[in-house]
Symmetry: D2
């Protein structure tokens, strides 16, 4: 079974039609899995619904706790792209119990609720990488997969690239 | 570099608004890669644009030829789901030059042109599996990946399942 | 109150993922009205779900009957585009009880289930025309409205034009 | 010919994938007219691209100027919903040269770039109302049309209602 931990990020931003702004409500993960006709055995757990720029050390601690406690050896984390690499580092720096698992962080540049979202592509990609990669912490974006300490988000282009 | 061979299938069905029927025109692969913000180094080649129920032995021969001739060791083939497993078997039965490559067939249950398509999810999945799997011929659908001789499409449910 | 009579047509075609063909299931009208955030007082009634090329005289008789029996003076009919004008003529040729109502036929060139459908635009248009036009039978397509006997569908271009 | 004056509003909000926020770039009107397969003779002119909460008296003066100067007697204005009624009042209060025209303001509760937008429905509706209404200033939303001085936006529900 694959554990999916939801933290929010662009993936799950919605349009608040009364306020005219973006906000978080429920995760779109179950709907996305349905759309992708996924037949994977997954368990989805929402940990928080926030913009990753607002993620605190305590939030990252909570994510690490859930990675550690999950009975599954394959974990996908949906996450805002801006601090995805920081969270990956926090998980990788945790104790060996976490290190024995394959953990893939992914996200989207465009909210799923937009017609033009890259979210479904990235989700299909992350769920595939996590099934094959050896234990470790990874970032899967743009069809590529990086080890947590060999990637950065280029803020100018929005692209994740090797370092 | 990943070679993408396009053969048509549900992936690429479009609506002919004058005739009121489905038909094939151009492949949606480049548009899908753009939507997914793919940063993979790919070369897309359209071999045919047909419903896989109409695929002949000669068509499969052409696909095998292209798998053999491709300079790349990673190949993704987009294909109609109805005879995807047959084509996978044809490729797997070819000479050793093909066998040294990692070849992943994928498709969609709903055309990409529909809002409700599973295509983008499957494409992200196939492009990820092909990067990690050892040489061999595989079918990637519904987030899962099967060796070519251990899968069948369940015609009742539309789901690919292990045999 | 506006009466909406559903007869099928391109508007409501769906993709049958097991057969790989287009078919009719339920009408999308309620979903379209929700998407358009319509606050009109409407009653939706499905009379048939067919391609208008298959519409018989008996089918047209049923439509006329419902136009006659409806207690509402404003009626919108969703209809396949190929024989929309024939049905409009059949309604216009019926007895005076029908002639006292404002009846607007509309349809779509692309099924609503496709991302690229013109259906929502045409529905918004037809529901607006029907509120203001004097009694009579009309065809509303492409943002325009024609009296039933002054329009034809150009089969080459798919456009409704004045005659 | 129908003149379409674009002022921005929710209709045209896009997602800035680098900043993670909504912003205005180009208007989606031409794309929406194409999607709706509109065959109306229209001239689109962008006056500004702003949130209607930020619209100043000077902005409204500019809109009135363009209504006055337009050679066309039918004008549709796309506008943010929050102050749509205020702008309608400003136009209605202008000199008689404006009053001789039929002017319909419309907008959207959800940006067109979202899959769930009501924009196409409202555009089809406004373009239809403007062809039939007598001279005056109107607001077309939710399938309904109101005279400028008999409507308000209910901020709790987001619905335009008669007063």
């Amino acid at each position: 079974m694959i554990r999916i931990l939801v933290t929010g990020g662009t993936f799950d931003k919605e349009y608040n039609e009364l306020a005219g702004t973006l906000f978080f409500k429920d995760t779109h993960l179950p709907e996305m899995l349905r759309l992708g006709r996924s037949r994977l055995d997954v368990a989805v757990r929402t940990l928080m619904m926030i913009d990753s720029l607002e993620m605190t050390d305590a939030d990252r601690g909570l994510i690490v706790d859930h990675c550690r406690a999950a009975p599954d050896s394959c974990i996908v984390i949906t996450h805002g792209t801006d601090t995805m690499v920081e969270t990956a580092a926090a998980i990788a720096g945790a104790d060996p119990a976490v290190g024995a698992k394959t953990i893939v962080l992914t996200g989207a540049m465009i909210p799923y609720a937009f017609g033009s979202s890259d979210g479904l592509f990235n989700l299909g990609s992350a769920l595939s990488f996590v099934q094959l990669l050896p234990a470790g912490v990874y970032v899967a974006m743009n069809g590529r997969c990086f080890e947590w300490n060999r990637v950065r988000k280029n803020r100018e282009t929005g692209v994740f690239e090797a370092v």
